[in-house]
């Protein structure tokens, strides 16, 4: 545990300086009533102390570069270094978003080409790069669905269908956009229950939000029927692209009947997660929805690219400028590096790794749907819980002691004691074998010396943190007093 910046303060030690001022330093030309009266307790530290502070913090963080990160539905694949180099080119990083179009043709070309490649990968007709994250993409997509129905004067559609296995962002997005959320059940195979879908689908439903493969890592094999049921009653089909890594280059949401999709560039297209962001959540649509995309829309003309603001049917703007451009630069470089064959191969190896892991773990952990999975699968700690009182949370914390980031836990909600594992394609067989050995060892510990697991982690800078206290009496800022 490091001291806080504010606890290291040495007034007068900061030596930041500007060049000498070469204009007259007049009195402040602002009336006193508009000026700040109170002090700001910002840090006062030397450069070396600031650098050491953040170095110390970095030692208490864990990234993909530190090791396997099997977080289900998060696609924590390796982030190629060339992309980090590329994004620092001053031709990208020093571009003001409001510069004249003729001075930013390279940036517009990159965005345009990225949109085309994302269309090709998903079988869609048009894309916007504005959404800054997956949830932001979902919101944009749902707005497009709403705008489409409104434009057709189809005002009855007040509901959105969401499977019970869906990411929390799906129902939250539908609710935030003013829809009533109706949950569709999963069947005994972990897939959308077609009877339940049929029963809930009607002319009051704006659309269905679906992840495919779903959050159990299972491909929705009835997707053609699902699309038919939704479309027959005038609804639209929304694709949550969180799990696109499982099918890219092999199959396309556009060919399955999806009308609107979002991708997560920070998952599928290898842009780093940054400790929680920035992400990027581009949204793609079929041509009949392209007029509703947010403005500005990128247009290619004879003499170059331009941003079109004149879009009468557009939902509006959803970002101050054009989205997380620098994230798009990294995704572009990634797709260019892989090419057609590499994109497909990444998908194949992601699915290979997940199935390998599943087969090697199934004797040690319950796997509720133990059949061919896609890029991820769900195991559980149910056996350990029932036999030894060791929970999935305990297993997750014990993994930390062995140098691994835990998987996604307690999700999807329809599985008790769930652990959702997604190894991604960038893990080698040796890495997976090491991880498997550790998971087997933890299963043994749970049986033979459960305290080791129950009290984990043992080797971290802090032990388990009291979340209840944090929430009961929230302290969310440093206070000297």
């Amino acid at each position: 545990m490091s001291k806080l910046l504010f606890e290291k303060n040495v007034p007068g030690s900061n030596a930041f300086s500007l060049p000498p001022c070469d204009v007259p330093e007049q009195d402040i030309a602002i009336p006193a009533k508009f000026l700040r009266q109170t002090e700001m307790a910002l840090p006062e530290l030397s450069e070396v102390e600031v650098v050491r502070h953040y170095m110390a913090l970095s030692h208490q963080a864990y990234g993909v570069d530190d090791g396997l990160y099997p977080l289900g539905s998060c696609t924590m694949k390796y982030n190629p270094k060339i992309n980090e180099w590329a994004v620092r080119l001053p031709g990208w990083s020093c571009l003001h978003p409001l510069q004249a179009p003729e001075t930013v043709q390279g940036a517009l070309e990159l965005m345009y080409e990225t949109e085309r490649m994302l269309c090709e990968i998903g079988g869609m007709d048009a894309f916007t790069l504005q959404p800054a994250a997956g949830a932001h993409g979902e919101m944009t997509g749902v707005m497009i669905i709403k705008a489409y129905h409104q434009h057709r004067k189809d005002e009855r559609r007040k509901k959105i269908l969401v499977p019970d296995s869906a990411h929390g962002t799906n129902p939250a997005t539908a609710h935030v956009m003013g829809y009533q959320v109706v949950e569709v059940k999963s069947n005994h195979r972990g897939l959308v229950d077609l009877d339940d879908l049929q029963a809930k689908m009607n002319d009051e439903v704006a659309g269905l939000m679906l992840t495919n493969p779903n959050t159990l890592g299972l491909f929705e094999e009835d997707i053609e029927d699902i699309a038919r049921i939704v479309h027959e009653d005038g609804g639209l089909l929304y694709y949550d692209g969180a799990n696109l890594n499982a099918i890219m280059g092999v199959a396309r949401p556009g060919d399955m009947g999806f009308d609107v999709v979002h991708y997560n560039l920070h998952k599928t297209f290898s842009t780093p997660h940054g400790g929680g962001g920035p992400g990027s959540g581009p949204v793609g649509v079929k041509s009949f929805l392209s007029d509703f995309l947010p403005q500005p829309v990128l247009i290619k003309e004879k003499d170059g690219y331009r941003l079109d603001e004149d879009r009468p049917l557009a939902i509006g703007k959803i970002h101050s400028f054009y989205g997380n451009f620098a994230v798009v630069v990294k995704a572009y470089a990634y797709i260019k590096a892989l090419g057609s064959a590499g994109i497909r191969e990444a998908c194949q190896y992601a699915v290979l790794n997940a199935n390998y892991l599943r087969c090697k773990l199934k004797d040690y952990y319950e796997i509720p749907y133990d059949r061919l999975c896609k890029h991820e699968f769900v195991a559980t700690g149910r056996w350990q819980m029932e036999d030894n009182g060791v929970s999935t949370l305990d297993i997750a914390k014990r993994l930390i002691d062995f140098g691994y980031h835990p998987p996604t836990v307690y999700f999807p909600l329809i599985i008790k004691e769930a652990m959702m594992l997604e190894p991604t394609e960038t893990e080698s067989k040796q890495r997976l074998d090491d991880f498997i050995a550790v998971m087997q060892e933890i299963a043994r510990e749970a049986r033979e010396e459960p305290r080791q697991v129950l009290e984990a982690p043992h080797n971290t800078p802090v032990l388990r943190v009291d979340e209840v206290q944090a929430a009961r009496n929230p302290v969310v800022r440093y206070d000297k007093s």
Binding site: V176, A251, A471
Partner: protein, 439 residues
């Protein structure tokens, strides 16, 4: 180029362990008609060397602010970024990490967010802050939603002097049907106080004001604050964080929610993103704040520790009852903002704000010596508009002379002056604008 480490022998042995004969069999659950029959049309993969050349060539088609002095602002500012930042932000423990849900191996990230929240509170004069949102405009839209929920009303009054893109984004979010947006008119570049006071009533959830406003001018908010609070509505302020070293803070104005674009705090221009939206409010509304929040707690040994807190507000717990769908934020940009504030420090930020102001004052005087008039006669911070006959034409000519000009208003150009601009650059700008405008 490939980033998959598998050898052919390993693939064969892994398939064997799974009980399959080929990679294709891994996809037997996808109906045959849905499988792609041909390769995607993405071209051949590039080697690192070719990619390096390609990216260099493509980026060279742009003209950037490292080549030409930039007087554009309007929501994104060309401030100096200390060298230590690039080094520190390159630590891949930071940039390749996921959201710090696992507190025990994420203390570094959690602590950095706690420090960020503290600094945002200090700047804005508010009591609590979240861990960041997408950008200034989306942070404002979330604040408007929050005000509607807190007041159980749905009327949002936006000042006409609010950034046009921010107005547009809030209007888009209002597609939810849960917010009614009305625009309060301006007079001489600032809020028309009389008119906005007449608009406020018991349906008003919040009044939104930008400070300094879109034209760079400083708004008088005292009467407005009293009026909106008299009807139990909220005052939302969208502020420039650098200006807060000099100007009266949202807390001092009596605002209920402060938001803003954090880009000026050490984040590169990057053609508009990624930036960060900051958001702070008073304690009583903490459970309505959207996005992630880091809280202080203790571990099982009683040692201080940090953890994501109040998660019961969030989409992954609350699902269709959540008030916001935010999941990913702009953590790395927030980290950059706190590194920036640490490196320039308390005094440095004041020096920077003052320098921007002095340069802008110098430019104002120089413009007036050239006979170029200010569009508005109001106090400003670091940005103001000057009247020109043909703004696009002036900008085009400036570009020919190697200057990135201002933001084009109907009959004026809006110029921003950061600490990076020098006297000679300003002299050149003023002379050129004067000459072009007289041509």
């Amino acid at each position: 180029m490939r980033f998959t480490p598998h050898s052919q022998a390993e693939i064969t042995s892994m398939l064997q362990d799974i009980g399959l004969n080929s990679l294709d069999e891994l996809f037997s659950d996808i109906p045959e008609p849905l499988k792609l029959k041909k390769e995607l049309n993405l071209g051949q993969g590039m080697s690192e060397m070719s990619l390096r050349r390609h990216m260099t060539d493509l980026s060279s088609k742009n003209i950037h602010t490292g080549q030409y002095p930039c007087f554009l602002g309007a929501g994104a500012y060309d401030h100096y970024i200390p060298a230590a930042m690039e080094e520190l932000l390159s630590r891949s423990e930071f940039y390749t990490a996921y959201t710090p849900y696992q507190a025990e191996i994420s203390q570094g990230i959690l602590q950095s967010i706690f420090e960020y929240q503290t600094m945002i509170c200090e700047l804005t004069g508010m009591e609590v802050s979240n861990a960041s949102l997408y950008d200034g405009a989306t942070a404002l839209a979330e604040a408007c939603k929050m005000a509607c929920e807190a007041t159980r009303r749905n009327q949002i009054i936006l000042s006409a002097t609010l950034h046009p893109s921010y107005q547009a984004v809030v209007k888009t979010y209002a597609m939810s049907g849960k917010m009614d947006i009305i625009i309060a008119p301006e007079h001489d570049g600032v809020l028309d106080l009389e008119q906005i006071l007449a608009m406020i009533n018991k349906q008003t959830a919040a009044v939104v004001v930008q400070q300094p406003n879109f034209y760079g001018l400083i708004e008088e908010l005292e009467a407005l604050e009293k009026a909106v609070h008299a009807v139990n509505g909220m005052l939302i302020m969208s502020v420039n964080p650098v200006s807060l070293a000099l100007l009266r803070s949202p807390g001092e104005w009596g605002a209920d929610i402060a938001v803003g674009e954090g880009q000026p705090l050490g984040n590169p221009l990057n053609f508009g993103g990624p930036y960060l939206g900051f958001m702070a409010c008073m304690k009583k509304n903490i459970r309505r704040l959207p996005g992630r929040i880091v809280g202080q707690s203790v571990d099982t040994n009683g040692k201080r520790a940090f953890v994501l807190t109040l998660q019961a507000r969030e989409q992954h717990i609350r699902r269709e009852r959540a008030n916001s769908n935010v999941c990913s934020n702009q953590a790395l940009n927030a980290l950059a903002a706190s590194m920036y504030l640490s490196l320039v420090g308390k005094k440095g930020l004041k020096d920077i704000a003052l320098r921007c102001h002095h340069l802008a004052c110098y430019a104002r005087d120089a413009f007036s010596r050239q006979g170029i008039q200010l569009k508005h006669e109001q106090p400003f911070f670091m940005e103001f508009a000057v009247k020109v006959a043909d703004p696009p034409q002036v900008n085009r000519k400036l570009l020919e002379e190697g200057i990135i000009g201002g933001y084009e208003l109907e009959d004026a150009l809006l110029f921003a002056f950061t600490e990076k601009r020098s006297r000679s650059e300003i002299d050149q700008l003023v002379t050129s604008v004067g000459r072009i405008n007289n041509e």
